[in-house]
């Protein structure tokens, strides 16, 4: 076993030969963060007393959900054969929505630990992330994790992994992030096989920004990987895309707490603080250089991820609108994938149409906005982007269903994805059924081992962003995994369904759906609203319409009783408090025509059948 390094290499002066930059990639939940925990402990940078599970998942949301959302880079010392090294490890998220976080991390590394749960085997994101790592020419270290589990089948999966990336099954390391077994050998192997970074120490400084977060105490913290040259504190630095100049107030490395250093040299990973408050001045993918000796050519940046799912986000209290704008601006800094622009809804007031990478991303952004910025929000049903061509040749891009044009539509294009689904072979039938029900066409089917099958389908994005994954999971008893990538647009027979309350359209509920599913959507929404909207003093018809044609209707009967008739004796205060409560409730009412709709009803109706979640928000 390698001894713990006695002395750390001093940042800013580390010979790149003794630096190794790697990330841990895997399918969701295969144990990346837990393995990272063991590395933190083994290298001694987190002592046993401070250790807690998934140490690097620091956001409340990450801890509650038990998943990683943001990549985290950590510098760790390790000794091999008498030489001390500096390892920069990046723990990445596994969920498909956050693939862009992985691709950014990859660009800061020379190697990747490809982790596979030895009880689960290769899953869809294993393949997706492996592909990304190979595209980035990274050295791949295949590792089987969770070998402590009785259900682990390391032999079987070592074989499969070897088939996938070449090499001998015996080269595949076996570890347990839980017990720590095999982790020291893995660190040794990383040093042996991952190439050291190469750069020109005497060239003008070039550092790639791979992450940027807003911290309310420290301002904007920019994470960089040095490619060439050197950065030092107090130096005037320049962002190459915007030409903006700042002073590097603090430079450091995360280990895993921030440690101030005298700078960063070739191959090192660390952070910069410039005191900028404006979030747009430190863009992920930009190159940092110095004013004194500027680089001529910027590094190749990242292609910015394109949002795939759109939703309107509104403050429940209209006066929070400016706060919401502020919060989005701040979040945007650490979440390059988030896009937004102002939008107005009749039912919901002023808000923003926001673009997300997927549904989990949407959920997490809204939750962070609510939690970190103290906002109460409501999000409209998610929608994808449609390209509509009118008979008169006009072309319209629709990200908000209520803006779907009313005139003569010639054709509608919708985004398509290529989905890769992995599952045990017994589930092929149910998966095919599911995909067909979602307008999918099969591309191919392939056996990855004796009982693991990979199915590839072309599917409309709109059909998978909502509950496809939940259905896949339940139909395959949890064994199915999914990955997908965009593959352009295709024409679809799509219509807009509007929901009308007493004849007034409720814009937040309009949806673009396949013609065959319009009726089902109409029945679902009118039914939901009938349950959710309280009775009014008059009857309220609820209709679903495609154009002028009504396809479903329900009605809320007029309310006949709204009075507390009980003997309260002299307890007048209690009565007055009830009145005051009603006054409060009234603030949360939105008027649609003459109909009073409580916020809660909108939230619940928009919550996509997830009653529990809606409940939580109401309270």
């Amino acid at each position: 076993m390698s001894p713990r390094a006695k002395n750390r290499l001093e940042p800013a002066k580390t010979n790149p030969e003794f630096i190794r930059n790697f990330c841990i990639i895997a399918h969701i939940d295969h144990g990346k963060s837990t393995l990272a925990d063991r590395m933190l402990q083994l290298t001694g940078i987190v002592d046993d007393r401070s250790m807690r599970a998934q140490y690097l998942d620091r956001m409340d949301i990450e801890r509650e959900r038990g998943i990683t959302i943001k990549s985290q880079a950590v510098r760790m010392p390790w000794e091999l054969e008498g030489q001390t090294y500096a390892l920069n490890m990046i723990d990445t998220p596994g969920h498909v929505d956050f693939t862009y976080e992985v691709s950014r991390s990859l660009a800061a590394c020379e190697g990747a630990v490809l982790l596979v749960d030895a009880a689960q085997g290769i899953e869809a994101q294993t393949l997706a992330n492996l592909y990304l790592a190979m595209e980035n020419d990274l050295e791949i270290i295949p590792v089987l994790n969770k070998i402590d589990l009785p259900a682990a089948q390391p032999e079987k999966y070592a074989e499969e992994l070897a088939n996938l990336i070449g090499g001998d099954p015996e080269d595949c390391l076996r570890v347990s992030g839980k017990t720590g077994i095999g982790v020291d050998a893995l660190l040794d192997k990383i040093i042996r096989t991952v190439p050291n970074p190469i750069g020109d120490p005497n060239a003008p400084a070039r550092a790639m920004i791979f992450d940027s977060v807003y911290d309310s105490y420290r301002g904007v913290v920019t994470y960089v990987r040095m490619i060439d040259g050197h950065l030092a504190p107090r130096e005037r630095i320049q962002m190459m895309s915007t030409r903006a100049v700042h002073e590097a107030l603090e430079i450091g490395v995360s280990s895993p707490e921030p440690e101030v250093t005298k700078g960063l040299g070739v191959g090192e990973v660390g952070y910069l603080i410039t005191g900028v408050k404006d979030v747009r001045q430190s863009k992920v993918g930009d190159t940092v250089t110095t004013v004194a000796n500027p680089a001529k050519e910027a590094l190749k940046g990242y292609s910015e991820p394109l949002p795939m799912v759109f939703s309107g986000i509104y403050p429940i209290d209209g006066s929070d609108y400016p706060n919401l704008r502020d919060a989005l601006d701040k979040l945007k800094l650490s979440d390059a994938a988030l896009v937004y622009e102002p939008e107005t809804s009749v039912a919901l007031g002023f808000g923003f149409r926001c673009g997300f990478l997927g549904l989990l991303h949407l959920e997490i952004v809204t939750e962070r906005l609510e939690r970190e910025f103290g906002l109460d929000l409501i999000a409209t049903a998610p929608s994808v982007v449609y390209e509509v061509t009118m008979d008169d040749g006009r072309e319209i891009t629709v990200t908000n269903p209520s803006e779907f044009p009313t005139g003569k539509v010639k054709k509608v294009l919708e985004p398509m994805v290529r989905a890769t689904i992995l599952a045990p072979k017994d589930y092929v039938g149910v998966i095919m059924e599911l995909c067909q029900g979602r307008r999918g066409t099969m591309i191919d089917m392939q056996y990855l081992g004796e009982d693991r099958v990979q199915l590839r389908y072309t599917l409309p994005l709109a059909e998978i962003v909502f509950d496809f994954f939940d259905h896949l999971k339940s139909k395959t008893q949890g064994y199915g995994s999914l990955d997908y990538e965009e593959v352009g647009l295709a024409e679809g027979d799509l219509v807009k369904v509007d929901i009308l309350l007493q004849g007034d359209q409720v814009d937040a509920f309009s949806a673009i759906v396949h013609r065959d599913k319009a009726y089902a959507y109409g029945v679902l929404m009118t039914g939901k609203l009938r349950e959710l909207i309280p009775r009014q003093q008059f009857e309220v018809p609820i209709q679903a319409a495609v154009g002028a044609r009504i396809i479903a209707r329900e009605s809320i009967r007029a309310m006949r009783k709204d009075v507390l008739a009980k003997c309260y004796g002299g307890d007048i205060s209690r009565k007055r408090k009830l009145l005051e409560k009603q006054k409060e409730g009234k603030k949360r009412m939105k008027m649609v025509g003459r109909v009073e709709v409580p916020q809660e009803a909108f939230i619940a109706a928009l919550s996509n059948g997830d009653e529990k979640k809606a409940d939580k928000k109401i309270r």
Binding site: Q537, R557, M559, R560, K561, D562, V563, L564, A565, K566, C567, G569, G570, D571, I572, S573, K575, R576, L579, Q582, K583, K586
Partner: protein
Amino acid sequence: MATFHAYVHVPFCRVRCGYCDFNTYTATELNGYPQTAFLSHLRTEIALSLEQVGRRELKTVFFGGGTPTLLPASELVEALSVLVDSFGLAAGAEITTEANPDTVDEKYLRELRQGGFNRISFGMQSAVPEVLATLERTHDPDSVARNVFLAKNQGFKTSVDLIYGAPGETMDQWKLSVEVALAMEPDHISAYALIVEPGTKLARQISAGEKPLPDEDLQADKYEWLESRLEREGFHWYELSNWSKIAEGNSGHNMAYWRGQDWWGFGPGANSHVAGRRWSNVKHPSNYAQLLVDGSIPSVDIELLTETQQLEERAMLGLRLREGLDLDVVKKLNPQCARPVSEMVAEQLIDGRAALQGRVVLTLRGRLLADLVLRKILGL
């Protein structure tokens, strides 16, 4: 100057009815507080109140609960005489006690009558055994008629309380209860829609699906039927849930509440309103007693009402009365009330003629939607 009234809260019940969330305790819930000590604690509170408000003639006295008639008649009479000795009694004052039907008999009633009580309100709730069982009422339904008869004979004014809309109660069962009540020829009837109060056993049973939720439409039907039936019998509504044969048959004590008069509520959890100030006493009898023994008034939640709050209360309470609400009060609270008032008239929720004369008076439909009408005219 406001008139002065006394309420005495007797917080004891033999068993707790499933729907009830009043401040009342069964023997086991008293945590050792002796019922026999109650009278002496009342005396202490009366003495303290006298220091506070000085001698002010009582227009009405009302013993409520809980079950005041769980105390011996002599103790109720004694409590009344302490009040009368302390504050004095107005001529023709109304002295009421609530009574659970099977806690009194002829002797008990006579003792009360001789001791100065002149009105008695029976908690009848229903005449139908199944409904009484749902409500977990333990009294024998026949005892109500017997006791109303005895009370009337002894010269009491009588009232019965009914509850409509118990889970599973049919329209016919409700009609039967009303007919039985009318046959007793009480002077006054209170009819309350069953409210499922959070935290009660009934609320738990309903959320567990053991009992159905009361159907509000059916409750509305029951109310409308009741109104027409009582009207035919010569009863007139004077408050949303209260009917009497003649104006003198109204509960003077309750009218005092609704008109915002002054009263002191004695006993655990009782509410008071004196000179623009509201408070309530601590709820548990032991805590109540302890504070009194320490020489302090056992009050909590003291509120000095702002002018707006006072107006809101006037609106809230006045709207529920037959005499209605002065439009000037509404205007002060909501200068833009003209439009909603005219809308309410158009929708026949309030009486158009009365509105022209400056009062808001609910129509029958409006009575069932009184809270809505209030919100609308106050622009809430």
